[in-house]
């Protein structure tokens, strides 16, 4: 099983491949409207933030090693999120969309192996996380089903991440890349009306975060999934 950046690379390859397939079958079942507005809930998977020992310089004459005072291991816990999207259909296959997301992920540091025998414990911090990004969505119309109402898609994009403490102090900002895919199901089609359609959407993505709140200077990958309701205008 792949994980982390390796998994992201595999998924990027899959997105490109599927987009080409989708493009070849474009315009078979165009949906009504050019504007798509959606809102829903998501789940952002956890990610390891790193390990760090609190240590002291040993009192030895040659090549002093470190005496571990205590050990820590930190993680971002998985967290629910809310998302809103605004998309513009630029062709029968492609949609450009922007997303705003909000989540309150918790950072958990497990503390163990204390030299003075303190019991293992955890320390936590809850952050407010805001994401604004832009994506290109390729609808795989050639793979649609249910009379064109069920359409898979692939998505990729990039955006900006901002994380704050409970006291609204900014503790991190950075970039976020995401790739993934999903399906949209058009439940109601009313092309003659201003509201031209209503449907539901499911997403599965890999998010690669660079900078932002971090204990090690490296990029992190986390899985995410979400479901939303969309309106077509």
């Amino acid at each position: 099983m792949h994980s982390g950046p390796d998994a992201a690379r595999v998924l990027v390859g899959a997105v490109v491949g599927l987009a080409i397939v989708g493009g070849a079958a474009a315009a078979a079942q165009p949906w009504p409207g050019r504007v798509e507005v959606s809102a829903g809930a998501a789940w952002i998977g956890g990610a390891a933030l790193g390990r760090q020992d609190a240590s002291l310089t040993e009192n030895v004459r040659t090549d002093p090693e470190r005496l571990r005072l205590f050990a820590t291991a930190s993680d971002f816990e998985a967290a629910p999120a809310v998302e809103a999207r605004l998309g513009f259909r630029v062709s029968s296959v492609f949609t450009v969309e922007g997303r705003f997301g909000y989540a309150r992920p918790r950072v958990v540091t497990r503390i163990s192996d204390d030299f003075e025998g303190a019991p293992a414990t955890v320390a936590t911090a809850t952050l407010s996380q805001y994401v604004v990004d832009a994506s290109l969505v390729a609808h795989l119309t050639g793979a649609s089903a249910r009379d064109g109402r069920l359409v898979p898609f692939v998505i990729g994009g990039a955006g900006y991440l901002r994380q704050l403490t409970q006291g609204a102090t900014v503790v991190g900002s950075g970039t976020i890349l995401h790739v993934g895919g999903g399906v949209k199901y058009l439940m109601r089609r009313t092309p003659e009306r201003r509201l031209k359609g209503v449907g539901v959407r499911g997403d599965v993505q890999i998010q690669i975060q660079r900078d932002g709140f971090d204990l090690e200077d490296r990029q992190r990958a986390a899985a995410s999934g979400g479901a939303s309701v969309f309106l077509l205008f």
């Binding site: 030895v60 936590t124 204990l215």
Partner: protein, 332 residues
């Protein structure tokens, strides 16, 4: 300030943390009519002399060079403004109140055999300004400048004593073990200001650590230091009672750096200043790795009857602000 090979004790009249909202480290201080004030030098180079005397294994010239490197270590801290200027050799011993800041070897029959060096001050008591500080290295101890096991490293002990000369008290970031007879052995430390010295042949005491740098930068800050760093403050309580003398350690998760202070007599609060912005784990332990009077002149209020504990929250420190972290501890 005495520093023993295995044990250290304060001899100065007062050790206080000051009363300002921003502070780090344990600072030396004096009582004035309006309360306690941290002692410190006036701005400008601190001019010092070297006693023209050597001991077996260390010539006066080798001593001068080692002490010069020790001063350089403190002067190199980019966030502190303390500077030094060597005047030259003098025939005067260190322990004279003669208006000259002097470092050198000296026979001191009044010192415990385990005392390696002692720093004495002449302080203007109304302002806390240090006007003279002498460091006497105990000529009865074995000394070395080559890092061998024949004696204690002059440069390491000089770095420690110069910390006192600048106004810093002892730090407690270290672990010791109790030996038969009540003496203590240093296992490890992450500050040059721990009261027990590293063993002969060990050079670890030559290098300033994050705790030392935070302390000297808080006492002699360069412009912008306090705006670029943050603090953690709070109280330590056991059953609703505030504990005085608790050793509070801030551990930065990003860098692994350790900076510490104590909850102090008075309001019982602790303040750890000079922290780089970042995420910190706060650990509290009783002050039981060295003699209490190595840190506090009045040990009466110092409470060591509690278990080591951690704050529940990861403390996020941002520049120019003070984060709060109160910790509840349990009795032993």
């Amino acid at each position: 300030m005495k520093c023993h090979g295995l044990l250290a004790a304060l001899t100065l009249a007062a050790v206080v943390g000051g009363g300002g909202p921003i502070e780090a480290y344990l600072k030396l201080g004096v009582e004035t009519g309006s309360g306690s004030v941290a002692v410190a030098w006036a701005p400008g180079p601190i001019r010092y002399f070297i006693s023209d005397r050597g001991v077996p294994g260390v010539s006066a010239e080798a001593f001068r060079a080692a002490v010069g490197r020790a001063f350089d270590a403190w002067q190199a801290v980019p966030t502190a403004s303390a500077t030094f200027e060597e005047v030259g050799f003098t025939l005067a011993p260190p322990s004279n109140e003669d208006g000259m800041t002097t470092l050198g070897f000296e026979d001191r029959a009044d010192l415990d055999a385990r005392v390696l060096a002692v720093t004495s001050f002449l302080v203007e008591v109304t302002t806390g300004e240090i006007v003279e500080a002498d460091i006497a290295f105990n000529a009865a101890s074995a000394w070395s400048v080559a890092g061998d096991v024949s004696g204690f490293d002059v440069e390491s002990i000089a770095v420690h004593e110069i910390g006192h000369l600048l106004g810093l008290g002892h730090s407690a970031i270290g672990e010791t073990e109790l030996l038969p007879g009540g003496r203590r052995h240093l296992l490890a430390a992450e500050t040059v200001m721990f009261p027990l010295a590293f063993a002969p042949g060990t050079l670890a005491g030559r290098t300033l650590r994050a705790d030392d740098i935070a302390g000297i930068s808080d006492l002699y800050p360069t412009g912008g230091f306090r705006q670029q760093t943050g603090s953690i403050a709070g109280t330590i309580q056991r059953g609703g009672v505030t504990i005085v003398g608790a050793h509070v350690l801030a551990f930065q998760l990003e860098s692994g750096r350790l900076v510490a202070n104590f909850s102090l007599p008075g309001d019982g609060r602790y303040v750890i200043a000079g922290l780089e912005p970042g995420s910190y784990i706060v650990r509290v332990e009783p002050l039981d790795d060295a003699d209490l009077n190595s840190f506090f002149d009045d040990v009466g209020p110092i409470d060591i009857d509690f278990q080591t504990a951690f704050a529940d929250d990861i403390v996020i420190v941002t520049a120019g602000t003070t984060a709060s972290a109160d910790v509840q501890v349990m009795a032993k």
